[in-house]
């Protein structure tokens, strides 16, 4: 469905992911396609590994919000193409896969005073912290004086090489915050951030490369060093 241009292919006007045999993957609106080529408009190209993002990471992120157009018009030789998929279908598959995932081991309780946005999620938390992350957050809160009401604020802001940067700071609850309660502290999110952080998991990793908080976000790639992993 979807086209009133009789002389164009069935994918005309549909935003698609064009994967190739090589490192490139394309996302753009299909203008036309035939046995020789695929023509995209308002498109972006990603090379596997660029900015620390694999093809899959890039497509996963694109499926959530779309892509920033870098090319008005692209012609991709059909011989290079391995698949053409509707971006909307990629999103639906990702949502179904996420829903099928088992609940995290440490399931936080949404406190009664949390906003309706949080309550609407039922038993599924907006964000979850691994045990390691909980221990480290508590340790840092204590280190900062363990003041009453101080918890962990998670958020996002525009910018960074992935387009979004995470915010991670210690703060008290503000009006309108969504609150996820853990036994020893609360996690606060402003409503805008819940759009981007829904389903996110925060871990704290100690390793040879150092230690840090690491986000795992079903809505975004987590391979970019900028804004994804925060050293403390």
């Amino acid at each position: 469905m979807g086209t009133f241009h009789d002389n164009k292919s069935a994918l005309h006007g549909i935003t698609v992911v064009v994967d190739t045999k090589g490192p490139k993957v394309y996302v753009g609106r299909c203008d036309d396609e035939d046995q020789e080529k695929v023509i995209l408009v308002d498109a972006d190209i990603h090379e596997d590994g660029a900015n620390g993002k694999s093809k899959a990471d890039y497509v996963k992120r694109a499926a959530k919000f779309g892509v920033w157009k870098k090319y008005d018009h692209l012609v991709i030789p059909r011989g290079d193409v391995t698949s053409i998929t509707r971006l909307g279908d990629v999103h639906e598959i990702a949502v179904k896969a996420e829903a099928a995932k088992p609940a995290p081991v440490a399931v936080p309780v949404v406190e009664a005073a949390a906003s309706k946005a949080a309550a609407a999620l039922g038993d599924k938390p907006i964000v979850s912290l691994t045990e390691n992350a909980q221990v480290e957050v508590k340790r840092l809160i204590v280190e900062q004086g363990d003041k009453p009401g101080v918890g962990l604020r998670l958020g996002v802001k525009g910018g960074g090489c992935s387009g979004f940067s995470y915010k991670l700071e210690f703060d008290v609850k503000k009006d309108g915050d969504v609150v996820v309660a853990y036994p020893q502290f609360n996690v606060y999110l402003d409503r805008k951030s819940t759009v981007y952080l829904r389903g996110i998991s925060l871990d704290f990793q100690k390793g040879l490369s150092g230690k840090g908080f690491v986000f795992s976000n079903p809505n975004a790639t987590n391979t970019c060093g900028c804004g994804e992993s925060f050293s403390v």
Partner: protein
């Protein structure tokens, strides 16, 4: 370059006839967004038959649901460029696409349906996704 107004007028009317306020200037958009009470929705309309052809009836269908945004407005991409740019400034972190739908609660973006989640889908399934967002936020 904008399309002839005669071509666009029925597409505008499809939403305005359902009681949706059309915003044609940046000032009107700012005024609409200045009221941060309750919920508000902005639909970025477009001439694209591949997507907007389903979006408009989908939006209208969704607004028949019991829970819905208190205030609903629309801007028209490619036509009222100043108003569209201003509307997009309220969800500037998201790549621009049209048609698209943004839902705000107390001035904060709480749900966004980009074009690629609209195109190729029938009005009923577009409405179903919006209704889900209404139930969660309105």
């Amino acid at each position: 370059m904008p399309y002839p107004e005669a071509l666009v007028a029925p597409m505008r009317a499809e939403l305005t006839s359902a009681g949706i306020t059309e915003l044609k200037t940046a000032v009107e958009v700012d005024k609409f967004m200045a009221d941060k009470s309750g919920t508000a929705m902005i639909i970025v309309n477009s001439v694209c038959g591949c997507a907007a052809g389903g979006a408009r009836p989908g939006v209208k269908l969704s607004l028949q649901h019991g829970k819905k945004p208190v205030r609903v407005a629309t801007v028209f991409a490619g036509q009222d460029t100043e108003a569209v740019a201003k509307a997009r400034s309220y969800f500037a972190d998201i790549p621009p696409s049209s048609p698209c739908v943004a839902l705000f609660k107390e001035g904060e973006l709480v749900h966004f349906t980009p074009r690629h989640m609209i195109e190729g889908r029938d009005p009923k399934s577009i409405a179903a996704e919006l209704v889900k967002a209404f139930d969660e936020n309105c």
